[in-house]
Every structure is written in structure tokens, then in C-alpha cells.
């Protein structure tokens, strides 16, 4: 009934005082999310395809962090990859209007991870359910290449009950997604997650966030998707690029028994269109940002030529009714974005 109460509060948003005193009521006057209003492009670059995907594959990123890690870790996420999300929310145990972070009345610690996760998904559903199509969870030491995530997701419908990440095989029949490597839920998957808690099909079963969520997903009929590229190379990675590329993950490590798909080490470990890496420290974040978005070889013809997702043609069709709605919403977001975080509207 505690959980029930919390859920009522979150869903109804402006409900006051009818819960036990331990729960925080979110009567928000301050917007604690960051809305970016367009994609970021480099000077001299043609970013039209990326911009099209930005408009039509809207991703809300929420980042698991805490008060002690804002300066050490979350700050660097904010300075790098999270700028490429449509909306980003930093989830902590306390509200911090300056950073900004959202506190959802949890404590800090590993045993709180699933509570944070449950409440974070309920929070983003409530606050931003209509403004995004896909909902990504990442840690403050995960590096995500959001443009590549859009490439994968563009071939799927947000109305399908599906979620993507680095698929692990133990414990859950269809597998579950690694928490550290980040995972993303479709809108329908998020709906079913929230509904699952309302009907108590899903509960706080354990603090092992990724496994517990995976078990809930299976119960509510959300499919564990295959996030590999067209050459069957993994896109979500549980370690830093060096570990995968140089094959230095020890054979006795848990990793070898966990991966759902065959493990490849060396250059074919990782897609050219990688989506995530984990255990990325701050200087590594900037390194990856430099390698992904800046450093390149002039005129080089990439070996891997990824196919364009078919839906691009749909997105570019001028007579789609939905496009108008999206522009409208974008217009609203633009204003909000400019008020709250003007520096995020700058092009690179």
C-alpha cells in the first residue's frame, strides 16, 4: 500500500498530503528536466539525416546519479553525451534545482537502485510521457551515442512492447538487459511497466535493478530485443572500448557466462554504430566525445555502410498529419529549453 500510495501521488501530480509523511510530494514549480531543442551539428557538416531522426525518434534519457557524484561524474555526462538526448533527467536522492537533479525520496546505495529505477520510470512517464517515444536509462559512468540509438530504434515502433540493451541470458527466459550498459524502453513498454506496478504484477522484488526490471518486462509481455547491427555486432557494451577491442576481459569473469549472443573480442566486438560503453570515467567521456563527434579521417570511405532505416521516407513525407503535432510540441519545448538552459541550444 506504500507503493500504491506513491504511485497515486506521482500519477496525479498535484495531490497533496494524503500519503504517509515519509513520502515526498512533487508539487513542481521548478522544471528539473533538461530539454534540448535540436540536434547538435559540427561546422562544415551535413546533419540533416541526424536532425530528421532527432525530430522523429524522440529519446528521453534519465541518468542514475547521486549527490556525491554530481561534480565527480554527472557533470561530465551533462557536458558530453546527454546533450544529444531530446530530454534528459538526472535522477538522484535529492532535488537539486541548480544542476538540476530530481530526488524521488530514496536513499543512496546499491540497495536503492531498483527503487530509484521504479520511481524514475514513473516520474518520466508522468512528466514527459507525451514528449518522447523511447525512454533510456543510463548510469553516470555510461557513455551513450544517442544518434546511433536513434538509428536502431527508427526501425521499430514505440507502440511495440519492446526494450533494447546488452542482452544477458541467465535467470530470465528471454534474457534481460545489462544495467550499466544502459537500456531503452519503448513507450508501450514503459506503459506496461507502470501498469504492472499498479496491478502488482510487478513489485520491488530485489535491488538488482537490471535483473528485477528484466523479470518485470517478461511478466508484462515486453519483448527483449536484439540490438545488434546488420553484421550481428553488439552496440551496447558493458565495458570500455579498450576492453572489448583488445580482448582483455578475463575468461573467468562472469561476462563470459552472461552474454546472450556469442561473444566476439577484437575489432569485430563492436559495431561502428556503437550505442554505449560502461565504466567510463570523466576523462574517458571526453575522449569518446572527441573520437565520436570530432576526430575523423578526411575523405575516408568507411568499410561499414549502414542501411538507412526505411521509415526515413515516412518521416520526410510532407502529408503526414503527425508531423504537425510534433512541430507543435517541438515549438513548446523550444521555449522551455531556451528559458532553462540556453547554453544547450548552441551548436557545437
Amino acid at each position: 500500500s506504500l507503493v500504491n500510495c506513491l504511485l497515486q501521488t506521482v500519477m496525479l501530480n498535484f495531490l497533496e498530503g494524503s500519503c504517509l509523511s515519509g513520502l515526498m510530494i512533487h508539487k513542481e514549480q521548478v522544471n528539473l528536466s533538461i530539454t534540448n531543442n535540436h540536434g547538435l551539428s559540427l561546422v562544415g557538416e551535413d546533419g540533416t539525416l541526424a536532425d530528421t531522426l532527432y525530430k522523429h525518434v524522440r529519446i528521453l534519457c534519465w541518468v542514475m546519479t547521486g549527490p556525491n557524484n554530481l561534480e565527480k561524474k554527472a557533470r561530465h555526462v551533462k557536458a558530453t553525451w546527454s546533450r544529444h538526448c531530446n530530454i534528459v533527467v538526472f535522477i538522484s536522492s535529492v532535488d537539486d534545482p541548480d544542476f538540476p537533479t530530481v530526488g524521488l525520496n530514496t536513499k543512496e546505495g546499491r540497495d536503492q537502485l531498483y527503487w530509484k529505477t521504479i520511481r524514475a520510470f514513473h516520474y518520466v512517464m508522468d512528466k514527459h510521457g507525451d514528449e518522447a517515444d523511447w525512454f533510456l536509462k543510463a548510469d553516470d559512468d555510461t557513455y551513450v551515442i544517442v544518434d546511433n540509438l536513434r538509428w536502431i530504434l527508427a526501425s521499430h515502433s514505440p507502440e511495440d512492447p519492446v526494450y533494447f540493451g546488452r542482452r544477458f541470458k541467465p535467470y530470465v527466459k528471454q534474457g534481460y538487459m545489462s544495467g550499466g550498459a544502459g537500456y531503452v524502453l519503448s513507450k508501450e513498454a514503459l506503459r506496461r511497466f507502470v501498469e504492472g506496478f499498479r496491478t502488482k504484477v510487478c513489485t520491488h522484488t530485489s535491488s538488482v535493478e537490471d535483473l528485477a526490471l528484466g523479470q518485470c518486462m517478461e511478466k508484462v509481455g515486453v519483448v527483449a530485443g536484439d540490438s545488434r547491427d546488420t553484421l550481428q555486432r553488439e552496440t551496447f557494451h558493458p565495458f570500455v572500448p579498450e576492453s572489448h577491442l583488445t580482448g582483455t576481459v578475463s575468461k573467468t569473469f562472469w561476462y563470459w557466462n552472461y552474454c546472450y549472443y556469442p561473444i566476439v573480442q577484437g575489432p569485430q566486438c563492436c559495431s561502428d554504430l556503437a550505442v554505449s560503453f560502461h565504466y567510463v570515467d570523466p576523462s574517458h567521456m571526453y575522449l569518446l566525445e572527441y573520437y565520436t563527434y570530432h576526430l575523423r579521417a578526411f575523405g575516408y570511405k568507411y568499410r561499414y555502410q549502414p542501411p538507412e532505416p526505411n521509415v526515413i521516407q515516412d518521416f520526410n513525407a510532407p502529408d503526414k498529419v503527425e508531423t504537425g503535432d510534433i512541430e507543435e510540441k517541438l515549438g513548446v519545448d523550444q521555449q522551455e529549453g531556451e528559458k532553462k538552459s540556453p547554453e544547450l541550444n548552441e551548436k557545437l
Binding site: V146, Y286, Y290, L295
Partner: protein
């Protein structure tokens, strides 16, 4: 007594004046010498995107051919790990790469110059490269501890005429001498090489074995010899003035930037079209290969006017 003393003094004064006059003449001469061959471009930048877009198809293909690079990689068995890494990675992007070693190694192929002295070895390598250049017109000299993105080197020299003398890299100053730092790689055009070969014959201005008690580093000896032929060091930089040749590793440069420009780490750090980095381990280089030649954000395209194909015999790019 007095007359002897005063003669001596007169002699001394005369001698002193004579010396002063001679040294004035010398500086005057070298002054005019350097003024005659003006420092037209101390900073060397790539061709602009606008210029590139104006090119015709045939000019494009002419330039693609002209800009091919001969890499001279100066190795020693002590640097075997770096030698192997260079062999497996960036050297494959050169149109021709030749490893020149001080002594042969069973593990890897190289031209054995059988020469322990570094300057003498460099001279021999340069002579060999010039004689075996075929129709290649650009030369890149590096140690295997340097990592190079050859496509970006080509971009830098794309619109430069190799029948003109060019000597490019990261420039440093030593007194009056501007020289290109060896650790971040040295670029020479065909004409610069030709002049160098000529001046090698001059044992006074460009000796093979130095007469001094101390050893001058090869990079300065090279600069001195080239200066006698009227070729001057130029600093390679991008359109924003950022240096393209680095002797530090990427992570080292990022760390520096985190300290100096915390609000703008990546922007302030390094050029998007960087050519060289140094001091990187083999695993860091694997990550760099992936970062340069593979990892990218979908939907961001550059439509470069020229195309460089991947090499035939590698799997990490």
C-alpha cells in the same frame, strides 16, 4: 717597454675590431640570405572547403594521385613493440611505407641501414626514399612511437605543389633556428627532398658526422641543412589555428584540457583533422583506430570532395 706594450694594445684592439667587423658581415650575410628566401608561410593550413567544392572531377583525380605519401618509419629493435604496432596500423594507410632500422630484427621486415648514429641513419633513409620514390611526391618521416592519420596529412598538403619546397610539422624555435619536431612527425615535399640530397654532399654545412663535442639532435641538423637550401620549417595547423601535429597522446591532451578549459574540454583540446599523436600504447592505438576509422554518429555526413579507400590488408579500420 712602453712601445712594446702599446703595440700589443694596438694589435689587440685592431684584432678585436677585425673580429667584430667579420661577425657583423656574417650576420649581415645570413640576414640577407634569409630575407631573400622569405618566410612566406610560417603557418600552413589546409585548403578551404569552398575551394575544394570549386574543383572539377579531373582536378580531383589529379590531386588524389599527386597527394600520395611515402612513409619513412625509423625503427630500432629496442622499439619492437611500437614497430609492430605501426606495422599493423597506420603504416597501411601510406601509399608506400618503408621501415628503416639500425639493425635487423628477425621478427619484422625492414631495410637494415646498419648504422647506429641517428643522423647518419636518417640521411641514408632519405637518400633511399628519394631514389625509390617512383611517382610519389610527399614524404612523411616518423618514429614508430608516433601515430599518424595519413588521410589528414593528405588533406593538409592537398593544394600544395610538391615541386615546391615544403618542410612541415610542429615547429619549435632554437635560437634563430625554426625546426620541425621529430616526435610529432616530419613532412617533406619532393623538392625539399631533392635539395636535401644535394646539400648532403656539402660536408661543411651539412656534415654527416658532427664535428662538435656534443651531439645536435637530428631534427635540428635537418633544419639547419634545409635552411642552407632555402627551405624553412612551417607549422601545420587547421583553419582555426589548432596544431595538427602532436607529440602527446590523446588522453594526455584531454587531461590538459580538463585542467585548462573545464567548460569546453573537447572544443579546446585538439583539432578534428589532427594528423599525429605520440606516446600511445598499442591498446590505446587500437582504440584510436576504432575512433578514427569506424566509430561515428549516424546521420552526420561530410561529403568530402575526395575519397580515400581503406587499405586491403587490415581489419581494425
Amino acid at each position: 717597454m712602453m712601445s712594446e706594450g702599446s703595440s700589443f694594445m694596438k694589435g689587440l684592439i685592431l684584432g678585436g675590431i677585425f673580429c667584430l667587423v667579420m661577425s657583423f658581415f656574417e650576420t649581415f650575410n645570413s640576414g640577407t640570405h634569409s630575407e631573400g628566401h622569405e618566410h612566406l608561410h610560417h603557418h600552413l593550413k589546409p585548403v578551404s572547403k569552398d575551394e575544394l567544392q570549386k574543383l572539377s572531377e579531373s582536378q580531383m583525380s589529379d590531386w588524389t594521385l599527386q597527394v600520395r605519401v611515402y612513409c619513412l618509419i625509423m625503427v630500432t629493435p629496442k622499439l619492437l613493440v611500437h614497430w609492430a604496432t605501426a606495422n599493423d596500423t597506420w603504416s597501411k594507410h601510406c601509399d608506400k611505407s618503408v621501415f628503416y632500422t639500425s639493425e635487423s630484427s628477425k621478427a619484422l621486415e625492414a631495410i637494415d641501414l646498419q648504422e647506429q648514429d641517428e643522423w647518419a641513419r636518417l640521411r641514408k633513409a632519405i637518400k633511399h626514399a628519394y631514389e625509390n620514390a617512383g611517382d610519389l611526391r610527399w614524404f612523411f618521416v616518423a618514429r614508430p612511437t608516433t601515430y599518424a592519420i595519413i588521410e589528414n596529412l593528405k588533406y593538409l598538403v592537398l593544394d600544395k605543389d610538391p615541386s615546391q619546397p615544403f618542410y612541415i610539422g610542429h615547429t619549435e624555435k632554437s635560437g634563430e633556428l625554426d625546426y620541425v619536431e621529430y616526435d610529432s612527425g616530419i613532412v617533406l615535399s619532393y623538392e625539399a627532398m631533392r635539395r636535401l640530397i644535394e646539400i648532403f654532399k656539402d660536408e661543411d654545412r651539412c656534415p654527416e658526422r658532427g664535428h662538435a663535442l656534443w651531439k645536435t639532435p637530428e631534427e635540428k641538423q635537418l633544419a639547419t641543412c634545409l635552411k642552407y637550401t632555402g627551405v624553412f620549417a612551417e607549422n601545420g595547423e587547421d583553419a582555426q589555428g589548432k596544431g595538427l601535429f602532436n607529440k602527446k597522446s590523446v588522453s594526455s591532451l584531454i587531461s590538459d584540457s580538463m585542467g585548462q578549459n573545464p567548460a569546453d574540454v573537447v572544443e579546446a583540446c585538439c583539432s578534428d583533422m589532427a594528423i599525429t599523436f605520440g606516446g600511445m600504447s598499442p591498446s590505446q592505438i587500437q582504440v584510436l583506430m576504432y575512433g578514427v576509422y569506424r566509430l561515428r554518429p549516424y546521420g552526420h555526413d561530410f561529403h568530402d570532395s575526395l575519397t580515400f579507400l581503406p587499405p586491403n590488408d587490415s581489419d581494425n579500420d
